[in-house]
């Protein structure tokens, strides 16, 4: 059964969770030194398969796994690590109170006698990080490191295990374009060392850029493996979703109405300064920028989660006072936050409970919440967004990452918001579901709602937004119309394109100024 | 110049002791040249040692101690001896070798209370079969150990009396009430309940009442003769044992005061237990 070409072979691997057959007789073979992309819809079982490899889940009886030709049954991650496997998990959550170097060497500290040799660890961490081109202060506590940096660090850590096979589970979800390119570089460097990589991603671009081979699983079943050069994007999409689909979302136009939301001189010193923009009914307003540009902070301020220090917000031309999220909800503003774990999920509660939380009143009968009503509504959302879960009473923590995200979007759709703010809404969502969410967003716009969408995915912004505001280091660099926007212009502006400070009061003026700026640079 | 007496006390949440403290403060208010400071060890011997240390550090003129348990007197006596501070122990009698380092003792022998209590029951049973259940205080407390011991010594001498159950009522009325409920269900043959203190005895009689038993069905006996208990005497409670709390407090303070002034005192000052039955109710009530 074994073949010396393969570093890893999985044969007929299955995994059953209560209520879910997550994997059904899956086969997967990874060539030595190759980059092998693993694709499939949300909840297809990719992460589960990888967790089995890493000793985090025990597979059902009957399957076989061979590593380097040897039978491989890890009981715990330590077994996997010792055998030569390393993993960058989908949800990285490092120990916040340990330093970068301490996290890097966690579980394999360098010792001098019985004590930890911190100096040596710092030095070696530094060395590896420099080699991979990830500049970082190694003494910094992880809590002060951005999500993107933490992601790169996790990859660097995996690399440094001297593994023969590294699993990367959606490594780019927390990264913006420029960091993604940094990641490509790192991945290729790793491959040069003869290390094989399993690369899980929902992004076709990444897969075709990086991988040698691609395997697809659907509904827990193995569909097939292809050489990346032998397959087109369309064919790959077909393998994944089982039908024809366009890669690029083609949105239809909707009528844009009167001004709904106006943001004037919004400032939170240290985070963002003097943000001005308006959003009209039916409009989809994008916000672009590099990680750390302060986009999330701006929308959090609008929603009242971390209120701004100065500036005004007008709704329907009237000044409104939003100090806490409850105020925003009162004004029918919805907010899909960026960080699922931190501000989104209530992990050990049910799908229904997670959905209905912002507004319980509609589910009340005689002042009591009706479970039936809530379940009905949750079920209809489940169907509408094709959320893959055994029941709506399932604990949300047991859903796959993408399906969790869908629940969160459903949460705010249920509020029937006037304004819906979405911060990185398709993080970790598969192509099919993405298209569904885009459709939903456009549908909301058609109903006269205003949409604000923060995204690091340029294609997403370009294909959805009517206008795009670009931010850089807490400043608003400019606002450009859909027709003029291109990837290059936005990137240029986001990198801090030298736009003269604008104290203009008229939005249009600012926008045109920026346009020129973007063009010329 | 006022004299300062340090008085580490075992617990401020104990009814009987609270009357003892009253005796101490009566002495304090009656004498303008003395200031008595009380501390609460919360039943923790180690806390009591800390309190003693603190008083020694504060250079008090005498120590007046009701120990949490008799074993703790040994290090207390050592500490007091080293600092040259006279030491009066009240209510709980340490062993002989420790007593050598103690200047004076005021009180009785706890075991006596148990013996007196048990003997009253022997009398009340008058040869009838006695099935006894014992409600004990917090396990390990000096009074729990010795009172129970006294009970058992007496009962062992009488073949008509059998101890069929014993549990920890933690000096607590509510806990004793619960335990007695359970006993009366499991052992309907119980006809005597002996409690290490009156609070538990009251708990037992409440349980008996709730179970529909009458005064005649059950002999209940406590220790302390506190005012509440005296109220129940004859109305469920059959006997209790009096030990003058105020007398011990006042007497102990007086001896400590004398020692602080450098006067000579008698070393052993016995205050005996007295059996209180229904007939003496009025007499003892008037003591409070």
């Amino acid at each position: 059964m074994t073949n010396s070409d393969f570093i890893l072979e999985m044969v007929n691997v299955s995994k059953t969770f209560p209520g879910v057959k997550a994997l059904d007789q899956v086969n997967l073979s990874i060539r030595k030194g190759s980059i092998h992309a693993l694709m499939g819809e949300n909840g297809a079982g990719k992460s589960t398969l990888m967790k089995i490899l890493y000793g985090l889940y025990t597979p059902d009886e009957g399957g076989d796994v061979f590593f380097n030709g040897q039978p491989f049954t890890p009981k715990a991650p330590i077994d996997a690590i010792r055998t030569g496997l390393a993993m960058v998990p989908q949800e990285i959550s490092p120990s916040a109170n340990l330093s970068v170097a301490a996290n890097f060497f966690l579980g394999r500290e360098i010792k001098k006698g019985i004590l930890i040799d911190q100096a040596a660890m710092n030095e070696q961490t530094n060395k590896v990080l420099e080699e991979l081109g990830i500049p970082m202060k190694v003494e910094t506590l992880m809590q002060d490191v951005s999500v993107a940096k933490a992601q790169l660090l996790a990859i660097a850590t995996a690399v440094s295990y001297e593994a023969k096979l590294i699993i990367m589970d959606e490594p780019t979800t927390a990264l913006t374009e420029s960091e993604v390119h940094q990641l490509y570089r790192i991945v290729k460097k790793v491959q040069e060392r003869g290390i094989a990589i399993i690369y899980i991603s929902h992004k076709l671009g990444e897969v075709f850029e990086l991988s040698d081979e691609v395997s697809v699983i659907r509904d827990g079943q193995y569909i097939g493996t292809k050489k990346t050069t032998d397959i087109t994007k369309e064919e790959l999409i077909n393998m994944m979703v089982g039908r024809e689909m366009d890669e690029m979302f083609q949105r239809e136009d909707v009528v844009i109405g009167e001004t709904l939301l106006e943001v004037k001189h919004l400032s939170l010193p240290g985070k963002f300064e003097d943000i001005n923009f308006t959003v009209r009914k039916g409009e989809i307003f994008g916000i672009a920028g590099l990680v750390g540009a302060g986009r999330s902070e701006v929308v959090e301020a609008i929603f009242g989660y971390k209120a701004a220090e100065s500036g005004d917000i007008y709704l329907h031309g009237e000044k409104i006072d939003i100090r806490k999220p409850a105020d925003a909800i009162q004004h029918r503003i919805g907010f899909v936050t960026e960080d699922r774990k931190l501000t989104g999920l209530m992990l050990n509660m049910s799908v229904t409970d997670n959905m209905i939380m912002p507004e319980l009143l509609p589910y009340e009968k005689h002042h009591l919440i009706s479970e039936e009503l809530a379940s009905d509504v949750a079920n209809s959302m489940k169907d509408q967004l094709r959320i893959k879960t055994p029941t709506v009473d399932t604990i949300i923590g047991n859903l796959s990452g993408g399906n969790q995200q869908k629940v969160l979007i459903a949460r705010w759709l249920l509020l029937e918001p006037e304004i819906l703010i979405l911060d990185e809404p398709t993080k970790g969502i598969d192509i099919g579901a993405k298209a569904e969410i885009y459709k939903l967003i456009v549908e909301l716009a058609r109903l006269g709602k205003a949409i604000i969408i923060v995204s690091s995915e340029m294609l997403e912004l370009l294909s959805l937004s009517d206008r795009i505001m670009v931010m850089s280091e807490g400043r608003e660099v400019g606002i450009i119309d859909r027709e003029e926007a291109t990837q290059e212009i936005i990137l240029d502006m986001a990198a801090g394109g030298d736009v003269p400070s604008h104290d203009s009061t008229i939005q249009e003026e600012t926008t045109s100024q920026c346009k020129t700026e973007g063009m010329t640079s | 110049d006022t004299l300062v007496i340090g008085a580490p006390m075992p617990s401020f949440a104990d009814k009987w002791l609270s009357y003892l403290f009253e005796g101490i403060s009566e002495f304090d208010t009656a004498h303008s040249d003395v200031d008595i400071k009380l501390t609460d060890a919360n039943e923790d011997p180690s806390k009591m040692l800390n309190d003693v240390d603190n008083f020694i550090d504060a250079n008090v003129n005498a120590l007046l101690v009701v120990p949490t348990d008799v074993a703790i007197v040994k290090p207390i006596a050592k500490k007091a001896g080293r600092a040259g501070i006279p030491l009066v122990i009240v209510n709980r009698l340490p062993n002989e070798s420790t007593m050598k380092n103690v200047d004076a003792y005021v009180g009785s022998e706890s075991i006596q209370a148990g013996i007196i209590q048990a003997e009253s029951i022997v009398g009340m049973l008058d040869g009838k079969q006695g099935n006894v259940a014992i409600l004990m205080g917090v396990l390990g407390h000096e009074a729990q150990i010795n009172r129970t011991e006294g009970n058992k010594q007496v009962f062992a001498k009488h073949s008509n009396i059998k101890v069929i159950a014993e549990q920890e009522g933690r000096w607590d009325r509510a806990k004793a009430l619960q335990i007695t409920e359970d006993w009366l269900q499991a052992h309907p043959e119980i006809n005597v309940i002996v409690a290490n203190n009156d609070e538990m005895a009251i708990g037992a009689l409440l349980a008996a009442k709730k179970a529909g038993l009458t005064d005649a069905d059950l002999i209940i006996s406590g220790v302390d003769a506190t005012p509440d208990a005296l109220e129940y005497l004859g109305a469920g409670l059959d006997s209790t044992v009096f030990q003058s709390a105020k007398g011990q407090g006042y007497g102990g303070a007086e001896i400590a005061y004398k020692l602080a002034k450098g006067e000579k005192v008698q070393k052993m000052n016995w205050i005996d237990f007295e059996l209180v039955a229904e007939e003496q109710k009025a007499e003892y009530l008037s003591k409070y």
Binding site: Q330, T343, L360, I369, P390 | A13, A174, D228
Partner: protein
């Protein structure tokens, strides 16, 4: 595919039942085992007696469950029982009639609420861990109880008042009726009212709760006030049962109450818990206490066995779930 889905559906419900009712099973096993050993253990009278004994700390456990579900804790409940009992007894002693009785119950609950209000304020607005806030309150409430009572039991001689602890309606002890009423009300509050949802949300993820517009501070305040009021109620019940208030009452009850909640499956990490299961947890402790007493187990051994049963029950439950 359909077959496998079916298969797994059956499995789910099996696991879910174990998840939900595993502890109930353990309670039934425990009760049956003791019934075989002890004559009359499986009688109505005994069951009511157990319920009556459990009612007081069981009510506390319900309040504590709310606190734990928010991710907090309440260590002050035992001390609040003492304070409330002393206050209630002082009010009612020597009086007559149900008016004063109700007033005394109200006062006890009010005192408890005030303690809870302080706990809640410190926790919600001071942002200090509830463990510390309620630990401080535990010391303070006990101190105040002793101060008020001068360290002595306070007689609660009022026939109307003590009749609450003594009487039974259609054979059901009044205290049990109070327990049931409180449990039903709190169960509805927790599972069917938005307050309850907010409690779960805070425990599930406090940031999310905020984002979803939950007023976290007010909700926490309400939770601790509720827990305090229930502890006060338990104090009044105990006072009427024992015919006296006492500053030593309720010693370590907070631990029994927390144990009851956790045995009932409430997660100390917050976000998980229910009133009915909290009752099951309390009953396990109550049945065990009664059984050990009736068996006449040596008091030293009782403690050892009690510890083993608590650990054993939770362990058994955890194992069962793992396997399923």
């Amino acid at each position: 595919m359909i077959k496998s889905a079916n298969n797994s559906m059956r499995k789910t419900s099996y696991t879910e039942i174990l998840n939900k009712y595993g502890m109930l099973l353990i309670l039934i096993l425990l009760f049956s085992a003791l019934s075989l050993k002890i004559d009359g253990f499986a009688s109505f009278r005994n069951i009511f007696s157990i319920l009556e004994q459990v009612s007081m700390f069981g009510i506390i456990a319900i309040g504590v469950t709310f606190a734990i579900v928010t991710g907090g804790i309440d260590l002050s409940s035992g001390a609040v029982v003492a304070l409330a009992s002393v206050v209630g007894a002082s009010i009612v002693t020597g009086t007559e009639g149900y008016g004063m009785t109700i007033f005394a119950f109200g006062a006890a609950m009010f005192v408890g609420s005030i303690c809870g209000l302080i706990n809640g304020t410190i926790t919600a607005y001071g942002r200090i861990p509830p463990f510390i806030a309620t630990l401080g309150m535990m010391t303070m409430a006990r101190g105040v109880a002793q101060l008020v009572s001068n360290g002595r039991p306070v007689d609660a001689s009022s026939d109307a008042f003590t009749s609450i602890g003594d009487s039974a309606i259609f054979g059901v002890p009044s205290l049990v009726i109070i327990y049931v009423l409180v449990a039903v009300t709190c169960h509805i509050m927790m599972s069917r009212m938005s307050f309850g949802r907010h409690v779960f949300a805070i425990g599930g993820n406090v940031n999310t709760a905020k984002i979803c517009g939950v007023n976290v501070e007010i909700t926490l305040l309400k939770v601790y006030i509720l827990a305090g009021a229930l502890a006060g109620l338990a104090g009044a019940m105990l006072t009427s049962r024992a015919y006296a208030g006492n500053p030593t009452f309720g010693n370590m009850w907070e631990l029994d109450a927390i144990a009851a909640a956790v045995i009932g499956g409430t997660s100390l990490a917050g976000g998980v818990g229910s009133v009915p299961m909290c009752i099951v947890g309390a009953l396990i402790i109550g049945v065990m206490n009664k059984g050990l007493n009736m068996l006449g187990v040596d008091p030293y051994w009782q403690q050892i066995i009690k510890g083993m049963i608590i650990i054993g029950a939770v362990l058994l439950d955890a194992q069962k779930r793992k396997k399923a």
